[in-house]
């Protein structure tokens, strides 16, 4: 009885369109897309009109059976790659991904060169040095 009541109330609260609570999948995709009118906010976080509409479009496209890649392509088609939160790993923006790794590798190389154990002196020099140490200072 209680269950039936709960189900009924849930059904009664459901508005016609659009659904207020979108699936987590919608937000997962929206998180990878930029909100066009915001500064440093994704379409998942913002409550601006455009971002709300973007989430609605994502939900509709998911319902139509579109894949995540297809949905992202839909927005790239209209806004360009600017709309993607992560820059694509090709072309000019590939550098954004490669440079930090390259920098770290260079730093590692430099540190290694600086701290690597010094080569011991050749034996004849060592002998000479020992001799000189033993010699009483003149």
């Amino acid at each position: 009885m209680l269950l039936a009541l709960l189900a009924l109330s849930a059904w009664a609260q459901e508005p016609a369109a659009p659904p207020p609570d979108l699936s987590p999948e919608v937000f997962a995709i929206a998180r990878e897309l930029r909100c066009p009118v915001c500064q440093g906010e994704s379409a998942a976080e913002s409550n601006s009109g455009v971002a709300v509409e973007m989430r609605r479009i994502i939900a509709e496209m998911l319902e139509e059976g579109k894949s995540k890649e297809e949905i992202k392509a839909f927005f790239v088609e209209r806004y360009g790659e600017w709309i993607l939160y992560a820059p694509p790993r090709r072309g000019v923006t590939l550098w954004v991904w490669v440079l930090p790794v390259l920098g770290l590798a260079l730093l590692g190389l430099g540190l290694f060169a600086y701290f690597r154990p010094k080569k011991p002196l050749p034996p004849e020099l060592l002998e000479e040095a020992e001799c000189r140490l033993k010699e009483p200072p003149t």
């Binding site: 066009p36 009118v37 009109g49 455009v50 509409e53 973007m54 609605r56 479009i57 927005f75 088609e77 209209r78 806004y79 360009g80 600017w82």
Partner: protein, 178 residues
């Protein structure tokens, strides 16, 4: 030799920094205008005061290929930019109405407030109603106001973001007018 290498590295980084600082982060690309893509079609309800002349709904493709189209996205809550440009658009429409079609797309707004805005500025060019803002997404719109210029072949030639002034409007109109 090593000293020179360091100087080169510092200069290169400095150059990159300078280049980055010169770029305008507000300059946003319009894919449509850059590639001169055909204007995305839409069908939207016409706001009541304009129904007598333009019918219940407005389909963009019915009007493409005849005259250039000036497509203006606006909202009554967009203050002050939309309020600044409304008289400019109305004035230009009265001057160019034989040679170009102006169309206002009221975006993410309430109908009553949209009507009040139209009345306030005495807008006589057709106005359509898009409460969801779906058409804006198809045009890659960032935020109201934005104005798109569509040439006689139905291609998007230019996009202006923000309030448009008379001189800029004139300049873009010259580009699309025959």
């Amino acid at each position: 030799m090593r000293g020179w290498l360091w100087i080169l590295v510092v200069l290169a980084l400095g150059g990159l920094f300078y280049w980055g600082m010169q770029r305008n982060p507000k300059e946003l690309p319009s894919v449509l205008a850059k590639e001169r893509r055909p204007a995305p079609d839409f069908t939207l309800p016409v706001l009541p005061p304009y129904r007598g002349e333009w019918g219940e709904t407005f389909r963009l493709s019915d009007h493409l290929g005849q005259k250039p189209v000036v497509l203006n996205f606006w909202a009554s809550w967009c203050y002050p930019a939309c309020y600044e440009e409304a008289p400019v658009l109305e004035e230009a429409w009265r001057r160019y109405r034989d040679r170009a079609l102006f169309l206002g797309v009221n975006t993410q707004d309430k109908e009553a407030e949209a009507l009040r805005f139209g009345e306030q500025f005495g807008l006589t060019f057709p106005q359509v109603f898009d409460p969801r803002g779906r058409v804006g997404v198809d045009y890659g719109m960032y935020g109201v106001p934005e104005t798109f210029f569509i040439d006689r072949e139905g291609r998007v030639v230019a996009r202006h973001a923000g309030a448009i002034d008379a001189a800029t409007l004139e300049k873009y109109l010259k580009e699309v007018l025959p």
